[in-house]
């Protein structure tokens, strides 16, 4: 974020990107962003209102007195830039651009003086910007509240073992599945972790292999393949062993080519 604020004042001369062979020099003064940072920058915005609000704020423009033409121009350039960089452009940004363009065109039309009925074309936009800003702030305030798992911790106080039988919780398999679905959904949403779908059979086989082997003695590689399981079974076993090898849980030993292969756990 440092870049575009520092460079803001004296960046008007230098071509800042080549777009279809043409140097792009006309960039919003306050929005100089190195192209490779644009993606990061774009991700910082929650949508067109957020972007607009930012542009207005950075330029210290009175929200009631938005120079619609200038802002529209900046906004459109910004959108072109996104297109040039082939960023997936959310439709909402285009809608906002057309709204700005509409306001601009209406402002250019001569307005009958002293007409109280005629609404300032900027009014709707301003209303939306203000309302969005209000909740943007509310979300920040909410985020700043003390909350569980962050500022507030529930005590974990030991309870002496009771004489009475505390019944064990009952769990149904659907609860387990729901928990798995939840955790995967959440992981996908909040982080870059990818919980890829791996065939369970391989995972299970990995565990079975680990159960069978020990660190002290070698087990024959061939014992882990059972003809009765058919081709799939053999493949699953093979994948499981490869996976365990990759995770450095086992080692494979072969004294010479074509000699028997042995598996042992890494101690």
């Amino acid at each position: 974020m440092q870049n575009f604020t520092n460079n803001a004042s004296n960046q008007s001369e230098m071509p800042f990107a080549l777009v279809q062979g043409e140097p792009l020099t006309v960039i919003p003064q306050d929005l100089y962003i190195p192209p490779d940072a644009l993606l990061v920058f774009l991700e910082a915005f929650e949508g067109p209102l957020d972007l607009l609000l930012y542009m207005i704020k950075r330029q210290n423009i009175d929200v009631l007195n938005i120079p619609i033409a200038a802002i529209t121009k900046q906004y459109m350039e910004y959108i072109h830039l996104m297109e040039e960089l082939e960023l997936e452009l959310a439709a909402e940004y285009l809608v906002m651009a057309s709204m700005l363009a509409e306001i601009k065109s209406r402002m250019l039309l001569p307005r009958p003086t002293e007409s109280a009925d005629e609404e300032d074309p900027r009014a709707e936009l301003i209303r939306r910007l203000q309302e969005y800003e209000l909740f943007k702030k509310a979300a920040e305030d909410l985020d700043a509240l003390d909350r569980l798992e962050r500022e507030i911790h529930l005590p974990d106080i030991e309870i002496p073992k009771f004489e009475i039988d505390m019944p064990l919780p009952e769990v149904q398999i659907k609860d387990l599945l729901a928990a798995f679905r939840d955790v995967v959904n959440r992981a996908e949403q909040f982080a870059s972790h990818h919980v890829e779908r791996e065939p369970l059979s391989v995972r299970e086989r990995m565990v079975r292999v680990l159960d069978k082997i020990s660190a002290d003695e070698f087990s024959s590689f061939y014992d882990f393949f059972d003809d009765k399981e058919g081709r799939m079974g053999v493949v699953v076993s093979f994948l499981a062993i490869l996976e365990l090898l990759k995770e450095s849980l086992i080692e494979l030993v072969q004294s010479e080519p074509y000699a028997p292969i042995y598996i042992k756990a890494i101690s």
Partner: protein
Amino acid sequence: MDSDRLKPILEALFAASDKPLSVNSIFDLFSGDLEQPGKDEIRQAIHELMDQYSNSGMELKQVASGFRLQVKPAYETWVSRLWEQKPPRYSRALMETLALIAYRQPITRGEIEDIRGVSVSSNIIKTLQEREWVKPLGHKEVLGRPTLYGTTKGFLDYFNLKSLNELPTLAEIRDLDQYHPELAFVEKNEASIN
């Protein structure tokens, strides 16, 4: 049962319970006892306990679904050193959606989208429901009968609040009229903002 006998029992209960306890639920725990304390006695003892914790590293705090013993946020600096993991963080999109539901409930997804100017992903709504912060309240009787959402007691508990009234006050929209009396449209729209 006098307060000096009741207080440590309550403390033991709060220490052992994994969720907030209300005065009613505590009252029920004593049912059948010879010396069953009244609800007022329980309430009184809780308030005395709350005072007692003023110099402690813990506090007895009232949240939406009852009272709970918790570690004071002031000691988070040290407590967080016990664990390596960072607390979960939530995206701005999720927080803005949650804020809109909290402040504007009952509200439909479409209404949230109108204010935010972007679509709200189903995942966000789902996550909020899975965290049990948000629940469907019913349907709005308009075309498509969209679901109306509101926040739960669990939301208040999580954010350490007793009621929605304790949410930070929504900033006032500046009274634009005063600064720019020439702008006639302001009056017209002010009404629809709050």
